[in-house]
């Protein structure tokens, strides 16, 4: 099955590989800011775009017959999402006799508009997808997982643990998804390409404190969140995610030095965590330690060159250093990956504004603010 499937994928993917190889020679590292491999991802629900039925997903029980679930975060504006969905369609058909399910979570925007729904439906029809698409209203699931880039995939085993979670999509990632899925379905031995590394399983009590802390943090109840994260690390001193989340909270509170310490500890425990490495870089950037920040951000991008926050922060470092061309290249790379990310566009807008390119800045700022407003966005420009 593996050979057959890979061959089918191979022909189409060679071209993709040529285009993407420059971007993806790095590893397929973690796609999620708040969920590390080995952890139980949050449950979510949403309406099936086609049937209108409510789709509820909860991590599996591990009982016999429990499904391997592949959750894909995708958007119509992301060409790589289309490649991924096409391949997942084939996978879904190939493994239909097995306990395998794909759930596609659309993350086109914060608020579904009729135009957006039309675009999503048209992609669904065009691709003829055999699995449900749910629209992530308010991007709740997107934020709960801390999705880094679009598309991203969460491959969850029957016991409900995240086993593989790459961000972006490439030739290498595609093969790793296929192989990892087949290993989890018991269709092949782990080995050749499969990268199902032995995962760190945090102490269940620590995991519960962590998830509670994450939920409290998402409600901006930072003090209570920090209290729970402290309890998580007391329960399991080797658990890296609580340190990283503490760092994120401290960034929000402007406590840069504390954030730096927690990110450093998180990286010490898990050197593959791109979110922690990039957070470390950001905490240094906020303290104006530009050289050190650039070093950590570069390290983060070596782990995952699709990690938008690291691209943006490194661009800011290069701007401060006067390396404007390099900054521009980084911003462009980030925009290609996340063309509607308001934070990125805000920074890019400021960059263009400071360069005196006001007309370009207007376009970028407008796209950024339109992600945040509750008013309808119209195609036509206002009369001048």
């Amino acid at each position: 099955m593996k050979t057959h499937l890979s061959r089918k994928f191979m022909s189409r993917s060679i071209l993709v590989m040529v285009f993407l190889s420059a971007m993806v020679l790095g590893t397929a590292s973690a796609a999620f800011k708040f969920i590390q491999e080995g952890m139980t991802p949050p449950e979510f629900k949403g309406k099936d775009l086609l049937t209108g039925d409510e789709v509820v997903w909860k991590p599996g029980s591990g009982d016999e017959g429990s499904e391997v679930v592949l959750i894909v975060f995708w958007a119509t504006w992301s060409p790589r999402s289309m490649d991924l969905l096409r391949d997942l369609k084939e996978m879904s058909e190939e493994y239909r006799e097995h306990a395998f399910r794909v759930i596609a979570v659309n993350v086109d925007g914060q608020k579904p508009t009729p135009m957006m729904m039309k675009e999503i439906s048209s992609k669904w029809v065009e691709l003829d997808l055999p699995f449900p698409i749910i629209v992530d209203e308010g991007l709740k699931t997107f934020y709960a997982y801390g999705v880094i880039a679009v598309p991203s995939v969460a491959l969850v085993d029957g016991a409900g643990h995240l086993r593989y979670g790459p961000s972006g999509y490439s030739y290498i990632i595609r093969d790793q998804i296929v192989d990892s899925t087949e290993v989890l379905l018991g269709l092949r031995e782990a080995g050749a390409i499969a990268t199902l590394a032995p995962v760190y399983r945090p102490n269940p009590k620590a995991s519960r404190y962590y998830h509670l802390g994450r939920r409290l943090a998402s409600q901006q109840l930072y003090e209570r969140a920090l209290g729970n994260l402290d309890k998580a690390v007391e329960e399991d001193t080797g658990f890296s995610s609580p340190y990283s989340l503490k760092g994120q909270i401290q960034l929000s509170l402007g406590e840069w030095d504390k954030a730096e310490q927690n990110f450093a500890r998180s990286v010490e425990l898990d050197s593959t965590s791109v979110a922690a490495m990039a957070g470390w870089g950001r905490s240094l950037l906020r303290q104006e330690k530009i050289g050190e920040a650039a070093e950590k951000l570069t390290a983060a991008l070596e782990l995952d060159d699709t990690y938008t926050p690291a691209l943006v922060d490194l661009a800011e470092c290069r701007t401060i250093e006067g390396k404007l061309d390099e900054a521009w290249t980084l911003y462009e790379a980030a925009r290609e990956l996340n063309p509607r990310n308001p934070e990125l566009l805000f920074h890019l807008g400021r960059f263009l504004r400071n360069k005196g390119e006001t007309a370009s800045a207007v376009t970028v700022y407008k796209t950024a603010i339109e992600q945040l407003v509750t008013l309808p966005i119209l195609e036509s420009a206002p009369q001048q």
Binding site: P114, L251, F346, I369
Partner: protein, 168 residues
């Protein structure tokens, strides 16, 4: 006489009670219709949505929410004149409604009435100077006047407010 008085008072109480119950039923029906209208609009069925909203106004002609959604749907179909009629009525019924004022301002920007739009947005910004929707419209008004520098300034302020402090 006393008995008659009691009877009248009882009747009045019954009548007002029935009135309140009737009003409550209208409010309840309006809520259901409003949700149905929103769902239909989100599913791209604007005609169905408008029919639901019209049904609300038959029973409850002073319902500002219905006027808001009619304005929203008409604006989404580039019917600025129709949107304006609905939203002007909505603002008349609910003169303190932020969302009605801002949507009407958005319609007015679209139809070139930037002075009127600016006045409405300024009213909102008196209470909420960093309102992201208001600053968005301010930027559009500035752009309509070809003042790109001011547009960027308004949007930078809004984005800084929304994103500046948020790291998570």
């Amino acid at each position: 006489m006393v008995i008659l008085g009691c009877l009248c008072a009882g009747l009045l109480l019954w009548a007002s009670g029935a009135d309140a119950a009737g009003r409550q039923a209208v409010i309840q029906r309006s809520r259901v219709l409003l949700v149905e209208a929103q769902d239909a609009f989100a599913a791209g069925q604007s005609d169905t949505a408008l029919a639901r909203l019209d049904a609300i106004l038959v029973e409850d002609p002073a319902n500002p929410d219905a006027y808001y959604f009619i304005g929203l749907i008409k604006l989404s179909h580039a019917d600025t004149a129709g949107a304006e009629v609905a939203l002007v009525e909505g603002v008349r019924l609910a003169p303190l409604s932020r969302r009605l004022k801002l949507l009407l301002a958005r319609v007015w920007v679209e139809s070139g009435k930037t002075v009127e739009a600016d006045k409405l947005v300024t009213e909102v910004m008196v209470l909420r100077p960093l309102d992201v929707d208001a600053l968005y419209i301010k930027g559009l008004i500035a752009l309509a006047g070809s003042d790109t520098t001011a547009a960027v300034e308004f949007w930078d302020t809004a984005l800084n407010e929304e994103l500046g402090g948020g790291e998570l």
